[in-house]
Point group: C2
Chain length 190, copies 2
């Protein structure tokens, strides 16, 4: 490692430089930009780690974080009747094409099943199989351990506050996504 900069350790510093465009003007502007840079970089890093450590925590069940999220959604009481693919894409914030692949893998393993919705025969209702329910139950100890380890030092208030910030961020992202879709004219209808 040696003398090269960029130390992710302890009290690390900004990752991206304050925009060189604004030149050296150590005003509130550059400080604010720096703060924003760090926030998004933290989000990027933390998300990478969530997938890595989360998948490894459930390694013995052969379930990735994405599959974990899907199984969790299906295990929810409110999903007892099953969830349509469309609702799932909106819930997980991923594309339909991507979800098809993950669902195919889960179906191949016998954890979920696809049934035609009798109300709307275009729609497929995704639901847990008995094996899927069993797998979900088996996962709980590892999930609990993962939560405890990952939230070490977090009080209930901390968790609540963190979730609140993430929720606001998510909501803004959704708005950004909507605006981007508009400019590119993807689903112009309103």
């Amino acid at each position: 490692m040696g003398t090269l900069p960029a130390r992710p350790d302890s009290e690390d510093r900004p990752i991206t430089a304050p925009t060189p465009l604004t030149q050296n003007r150590p005003t509130d502007d550059t400080a604010a930009a720096d703060l924003r840079n760090r926030l998004f970089f933290r989000l990027y890093q933390t998300a990478n780690l969530l997938n890595k450590t989360g998948t490894r925590a459930l390694e013995q069940h052969g379930v990735t974080t994405q599959q974990w999220a899907i199984l969790g959604a299906l295990a929810d009481r409110r999903s007892s009747g099953g969830i349509s693919v469309g609702d799932l894409t909106q819930l997980l914030m991923v594309s339909r094409q991507n979800l098809t692949g993950v669902l195919a893998r889960l179906e191949a393993r016998g954890l979920i099943q696809r049934m035609v919705d009798e109300q709307d025969k275009r729609s497929r209702v995704i639901g847990l199989t008995d094996k899927g329910r069993q797998t979900w139950a088996d996962m709980q100890p590892q999930i609990a351990d993962f939560y405890s380890a990952s939230l070490s030092g977090f009080s209930s208030a901390d968790i609540s506050a963190a979730m609140h910030y993430l929720e606001d961020l998510r909501r803004n992202f959704i708005e950004v996504e909507r605006a981007q879709g508009e400019s590119t004219d993807r689903s112009a209808e309103a």
Copy 2:
């Protein structure tokens, strides 16, 4: 710990068909488990959206969020002499093999260059090319717009607090990762 199934969402209803679920009164345990579930699910959703909207925001530059992160790290003043691949993997929290691919793409586009470190000839020093510096400069307006839109409604204190929570979470994840590596004995190191 909680033994009830996860509920990725509690506020956004539009998940599935109307399924009234006025059931047993939630104890503190289930409420705590619910809170944790939602936090991690929010993180998962938000990360998905960050990559999606972030990449699209920089679409005109053909730069993804990952490349964005790398260019930002290289543009940092502390990286003026370049960054080693090893430092980059630690900074971005991704594997070396993954980084090789992304760096190859950036190098093919002429945005970065790899040089042999004269101090340690095993090490490659990654640095921005002039074209990379120019691209980074060109990206700044879109980055600023993206930040503004994504952080709409966030005060400086909010950003700071959100970053703090993400940092704590990240630190815990790193600890989890270390523990996982120990148990599986991947990189046995003290």
